[in-house]
C-alpha cells in the first residue's frame, strides 16, 4: 500500500522543556452523525465496541481490537469524530443497510491533520492564538473544543497535563504551523 503524505510531513520543533510542537500524521478519522439518544446511536456504539461521549466538549478513549485505543470526540449533540479506528467505517457499514436507520458516516481522515503541543509553556503559546478559556477548571483533560486559531478552523483536545492536540483543516495546516512557531518564539 502506498503511504499517504500528510500536510506537514511529520514536522516538529521545540523541546518539551518549554514547548514542543509536532505533527501526528495519518490519524484515521471518521465523522459520525446520529440522533442523540436514539436506538441507532446505541447500535453504533455497540458495533464500534466503544461508548460515545454524551455531550459536546466531551471525549472518551475506547480500547479496540489490537489493544490500541481509539478516541471519540463529541463536537455537537449529533456529531462525533472517531479518531484512530481503522476499521470503524467497515464495522458500521452493515448498519447503513438497515433502512430504518438514519445516520451519517464519512471518512474524513485527510480532511484534517493533527498537531500535538506539549510542555510547561504550552498554554502561554496557545493563548496567543486561541481566545478560548484554557484554565484547568474550564477546559480540563479529556475536553474537546472547536474554534478558530489564527483564523483557521480547528478542534482542540486537552490530552494530558500540558499536552494538547490541535486538529486543523489540511489546507490551513501550513498556515497554522507557521502561526504556532511564531507564537512560540518566546520559548523555543
Amino acid at each position: 500500500m502506498i503511504i499517504k503524505e500528510s500536510p506537514l510531513q511529520g514536522m516538529n520543533m521545540g523541546t518539551v522543556a518549554t514547548v514542543a510542537i509536532r505533527e501526528l500524521p495519518g490519524l484515521h478519522t471518521i465523522d459520525l452523525r446520529v440522533a442523540p439518544g436514539s436506538s441507532t446511536q446505541a447500535e453504533l456504539a455497540e458495533a464500534l465496541g466503544m461508548e460515545l461521549p454524551g455531550k459536546p466538549g466531551q471525549t472518551r478513549w475506547g480500547s479496540i481490537s489490537g489493544g490500541s485505543e481509539a478516541h471519540a470526540l463529541c463536537l455537537a449533540p449529533d456529531w462525533w469524530l472517531i479518531v484512530g479506528f481503522q476499521e470503524a467505517a467497515q464495522k458500521l457499514a452493515p448498519l447503513l443497510l438497515k433502512n430504518d436507520n438514519h445516520f451519517g458516516v464519512v471518512d474524513v481522515s485527510d480532511q484534517r491533520t493533527t498537531l500535538e503541543l506539549e510542555g510547561p509553556k504550552v498554554r502561554e503559546v496557545l493563548s496567543h492564538l486561541w481566545d478560548q478559556d484554557l484554565r484547568e477548571k474550564s477546559f480540563p483533560i479529556a475536553c474537546v473544543s472547536q474554534g478558530l486559531m489564527a483564523k483557521a478552523p480547528v478542534i482542540v483536545c486537552h490530552i494530558a497535563p500540558f499536552r494538547y492536540r490541535v486538529m486543523v483543516r489540511s489546507s490551513f495546516a501550513f498556515h497554522l504551523w507557521k502561526a504556532l512557531i511564531d507564537a512560540a518564539e518566546e520559548w523555543v
Binding site: 466538549g57 455537537a76 456529531w79 473544543s145 472547536q146 478558530l148 478552523p153
Partner: protein, 101 residues
C-alpha cells in the same frame, strides 16, 4: 466582543458566531403569498431598540443554530432557546432575572 452562550458549547466569543437577525420568521408557503407579502418575508426583519429575539449560529463551534434574547441598547444577553422550542418571555416582561451574561 460579546460573550455568547451557545446552548451546546457554553460561553464563546462573538467571533465564533454568525448573526441571523430576527428569530421566529418561518419560511412561508411562497405561492400562497402576494408579491408584497413575499417581499415582506424576503426583506423585512424587526430592528428594535432594547430586548430583541434574534438568531445566531455557532459556525466555528458545533455549527448549530439557536435563538437568543439580547438587548440591542445595552448588549445584555438574556435567555437562549433552540429552534422549534418555545420562546422564553422577553427579559423586559420578567425583569432582570432573565439576563444572565
Amino acid at each position: 466582543m460579546l460573550y455568547i452562550p451557545c446552548p451546546h458549547c457554553g460561553l464563546r466569543n462573538e467571533t465564533e458566531f454568525h448573526y441571523g437577525a430576527e428569530a421566529g420568521v418561518a419560511y412561508p408557503d411562497p405561492h400562497a403569498l402576494t408579491d408584497s407579502e413575499w417581499a415582506k418575508y424576503l426583506y423585512i426583519r424587526a430592528n428594535p431598540k432594547g430586548w430583541f429575539a434574534e438568531r445566531w449560529v455557532h459556525f466555528a463551534g458545533c455549527g448549530r443554530w439557536f435563538n437568543l434574547w439580547r438587548n440591542t441598547l445595552t448588549h445584555e444577553i438574556g435567555p437562549v432557546w433552540l429552534p422549534f422550542t418555545t420562546q422564553p418571555k422577553s427579559p423586559n416582561d420578567i425583569g432582570q432575572e432573565g439576563s444572565g451574561s
